[in-house]
C-alpha cells in the first residue's frame, strides 16, 4: 500500500482547472520534493493531501484511507505558510492544546518533550507573540511533529527559517525518514530539500511534468529539472 496515492486528481476554481489529472505515489520512508513555479499548484495539491480541500475529480489516499478520515488525520503532520500556533497562548499551552486535540496520553509531558527537541524549553511559558521569528518557526515544527505523524506534508517549510530552525527541521526530518515516515515537501529552497529528497516531482501549470528519483545531477545543479522539464 502506498503511503500517499494521488490518482486522476483535478481541482477546479470555478471552471478553471488548477490541478489537471495528477497521478503520484509515495512509498513509506520516501521524501518527495515537490517543485514548480509559483502558481503551478503545489500548495493546492498539498492542501488536498492534507484534507483542507476536496478534489473536484479523482481520489487521494493517505495510507489507503481518505485524508478526512479521523484515523488519517491522526497520522498527518502539516506545516503551511502560517505557523498555526496561537499568539496569545504560551509555547507550553499551545503544544499541550495540540497534544490534547490529538488525543495523546500525558499531553504535558509530550509538550515538554517537543519543546526540548526544538530548543524552546527555556521559553515554555513565554507568549508566542513575544517570540522571534525563528522561535515561532521552531514551535510550528514542534506542533506538527508532536503527535508522531507517519505522513508529513510541508508547504515550503524552509522559507524564512533562520539557520537554527533549519537545522532543527532537517534533523527531525532525517530522523523521521529513518523511522519510516513519508514526507511530501513543496519547496523553492532546492538545495535543502534536495539533500533530503529521495524523489522529485515537478509541477507545471497544474500538471506533473516530471516525477522520478532524485539524481546526483539534481543535487549538483538544482535548476536542472526546471531546465529539462519545465517551461521557461
Amino acid at each position: 500500500m502506498h503511503a500517499v496515492a494521488v490518482d486522476g486528481v483535478w481541482k477546479y476554481y470555478g471552471d478553471f482547472p488548477a490541478l489537471r489529472d495528477i497521478r503520484l505515489e509515495s512509498e513509506p520512508g520516501s521524501c518527495l520534493a515537490l517543485i514548480g513555479r509559483n502558481g503551478a499548484g503545489k500548495t493546492t495539491l498539498l492542501r488536498i493531501l492534507a484534507g483542507f480541500n476536496r478534489p473536484g475529480k479523482g481520489t487521494v489516499r493517505i495510507q489507503g484511507r481518505e485524508p478526512r478520515e479521523t484515523e488519517t488525520r491522526r497520522n498527518i503532520g502539516f506545516i503551511g505558510h502560517g505557523i498555526a500556533v496561537y499568539d496569545e497562548l504560551s509555547a507550553m499551552e499551545n503544544l499541550t492544546l495540540y497534544a490534547k486535540l490529538y488525543g495523546l496520553d500525558d499531553p504535558k509531558r509530550v509538550a515538554m518533550h517537543w519543546l526540548e527537541q526544538t530548543g524552546l524549553e527555556r521559553v515554555r511559558d513565554g507568549l508566542v507573540r513575544e517570540f522571534s521569528r525563528g522561535m515561532r518557526q521552531r514551535l510550528a515544527v514542534a506542533r506538527s511533529f508532536l503527535h508522531n505523524p507517519s505522513v508529513l506534508l510541508l508547504d515550503e517549510p524552509f522559507t524564512a527559517l533562520d539557520d537554527r530552525a533549519i537545522a532543527v527541521l532537517q534533523r527531525l526530518l532525517r530522523e523521521g525518514l529513518a523511522a519510516g515516515k513519508t514526507i511530501v515537501m513543496s519547496t523553492h529552497q532546492l538545495r535543502e530539500a534536495l539533500e533530503l529528497a529521495s524523489h522529485v516531482a515537478l509541477l507545471n501549470r497544474g500538471q506533473v511534468a516530471f516525477h522520478g528519483l532524485r539524481t546526483p545531477e539534481m543535487v549538483a545543479d538544482p535548476g536542472w529539472v526546471y531546465a529539462r522539464y519545465g517551461e521557461g
Binding site: F52, R73, F78, G82, A84, L89, L101, G103
Partner: protein
Amino acid sequence: MEFARQVLVIAAKDLRAELRTKEALNASAAFALVILLLFSFAFDPDAETTREIASGLLWIVFAFAGTLLLNRSFARELPNDCLDALVAAPVPGAALFLGKVLANYVLLIAIEMLSLVVFGIFYNVRWTVQFGQLMFVLVLGTWALTIMGTIFSALTVNIRLREVMLPILIYPFLVPALMSAMQLTVGLMAGKPIGPETANWVPMLIGFNVIYTAVSVFLVETVLVG
C-alpha cells in the same frame, strides 16, 4: 466520551485566549453600555413606557453587543493560519463548532448579566422579581444568538467584509428567536410570570434552537472544508 472531551478542550482554549486579551469582551461590554446610554436619550423613561420598550431594548443590546463577540469566534483562528491546524486535527467539525459555541455562550451570558445590572440601574427596572424565569429565557435566547452567530462566523471567516457580512446575515435569521425572547421578557420585566398568553413563545424558541443547532452541526464540515 471523546467527543465531549474535545468540545471542552476547544471551549477552554477559546476562553483562555479571550480572557487573556479581553479584546472582544471589552469591545462588547463597552458597546452594550453605550447603546443603553444612547437609548436613554431617545425617549423619556417614565415607568410605563420603559417597561414596555425595555425587553425589546434589552434583546437588541444583547444581539448587537453579541455580534461583536461572535465575530471573533472563528476570526481569532485566522492569524497564523490556526484554522488550518484545527481543521486538520482529528476533531470532528461538530466538536470544533460546539466547543466554540460553548465558549461564546459563556462570554455572551457574562456580557448579558453585566448589561442587565446596568439596565436595571439606568432605567429603574426591577428585573429580579421573576429572576428564575428571566434566567430561563436568557438561557434559551442566548443559545439562539450563539448558534447562529457561531455558524455564520464560520461561514464568513474567509470572505472579505467579514465584519459587515455577519450582522447582515445573522439578524434576519434571528427574527423568530429575538421576537420570542422579547415577548417572553416583556411580562417578566413587569413582574409577571410566564402565563397562558406568553407560554407559546417558549416552544417556538426551543424549536428554533433545536432546528438550527441540528442544521448547523450537520453543515459545519461543509462550511469549513473546501
